[in-house]
């Protein structure tokens, strides 16, 4: 839920990166962190296992600038993708303003993408949200790998509501900021409309 502090002239929004295990959610945030100017970012917090799998969440605050005299801050979160962390994913979606679904383009991960997308819809519903109504972007990650499904097939399978789709290679940064800008714009546009 967007928090607006009129006293300090700040808008704070929450964006959650969702998707199956090892799809590239943390890689997205890591790239954003590594390439953002120090004045525009806070620390990247990663609550992870010893093998660097996200255990609870990654978190990174990002300051985008000022609009109409209000500083706009985005809090970026990732969820743990492994199936058995569902309880944690549900908690992290609380108060979300925008969602990025990171899909793994590898052929053998398509079932996992579909399962994760259904899980997202369920968890949003249990938190009182509707995937069809919140700011939402689909990222097709790992487009550089040899065994990827064609993008149009992935879109046919995964796209839900005509949301923007961005192809990406998060490990190299390709498509990462396009995805972020896309969801952030939707969030601010939604704020304007509401």
């Amino acid at each position: 839920m967007t928090f607006i502090n009129y006293a300090s002239r700040e808008i704070n929004c929450k964006i959650v990166y969702y998707g199956p295990g090892l799809c590239g959610k943390t890689t997205n945030l890591q790239y954003i962190y590594d390439t953002t100017a120090p004045t525009a970012k806070g620390k990247l917090i990663s609550l992870a296992t010893e093998t660097d799998r996200t255990l609870f969440f990654d978190f990174m605050p990002l300051e985008l600038g000022t609009v109409r005299g209000f500083k706009t801050r985005f809090h970026l979160y990732t969820v743990p993708g492994q199936v058995f962390y569902d309880a944690s994913r549900k908690l992290i979606l609380k108060g979300v303003d925008g969602v990025v679904f990171v899909a793994d383009s590898q052929e053998e991960r398509m079932d996992a993408n579909i399962e994760s997308l259904y899980n997202l819809e369920e968890n949003l519903t249990s938190n009182g949200y509707d995937l069809g109504k919140i700011p939402y972007v689909l990222q097709l990650n790992k487009r550089d790998l040899p065994n990827v499904i064609p993008a149009d097939e992935m879109v046919a399978e995964l796209r839900r509501n005509g949301e923007p789709v961005h192809e990406a290679v998060a490990a190299k940064g390709n498509g990462v900021f396009d995805t972020l800008k896309s969801v952030a714009k939707q969030v601010l546009t939604e704020l304007r409309k509401s």
Partner: protein
């Protein structure tokens, strides 16, 4: 939250900090947004602390529900030198960082007193927000596509 309520909030938090002899007092919303902070922040990354406090409460809240409780209204973490006490007040979290100059008992007592003042303030904030909603919506309705695009240039 508006100017006057923000000042009142600052007053309550500062009073709590002084009366509990604590180092820092934060108000954080349950989604992890920092609302206000008072005291000797030092090197503490307050944004991260706010997010982690909310995550902490969310995780323990999940555990509470699994055992049939609604939530755990307070959480305390004791360190070698510094400790943290968290109290849930509606949609907000009051986070107190204290050291050997204070004690958990004193912090809990003062937090209980402050939470009553904060609860009343939050009710007022909600009321004023409802009253001013139309005016505030007009402010954001003026945001143009160019305003949004300029953030990403």
């Amino acid at each position: 939250m508006h100017e006057q309520q923000y000042l009142q909030l600052g007053h309550i938090l500062n009073k709590l900090r002084l009366e509990s002899f604590s180092r820092v007092v934060f108000l954080v919303d349950k989604n992890g947004q920092q609302i206000a902070v008072h005291g000797d922040v030092g090197n503490i990354d307050t944004t991260s602390l706010a997010s982690l406090a909310a995550g902490n409460v969310a995780a323990t809240g999940g555990m509470a529900q699994l055992i049939g409780e609604k939530e755990f209204p307070t959480l305390s973490h004791e360190g070698e030198r510094e400790s943290i006490h968290i109290c849930i007040i509606g949609r907000m979290l009051l986070v107190v960082v204290f050291d050997e100059r204070s004690s958990l008992g004193l912090v809990k007592l003062r937090v209980k007193q402050a939470s009553r003042d904060l609860s009343s303030l939050f009710v007022e904030v909600e009321r004023i927000t409802q009253e001013r909603r139309d005016r505030e919506e007009a402010l954001f309705a003026e945001i143009t596509d160019d305003d949004i695009d300029s953030l990403f240039n």
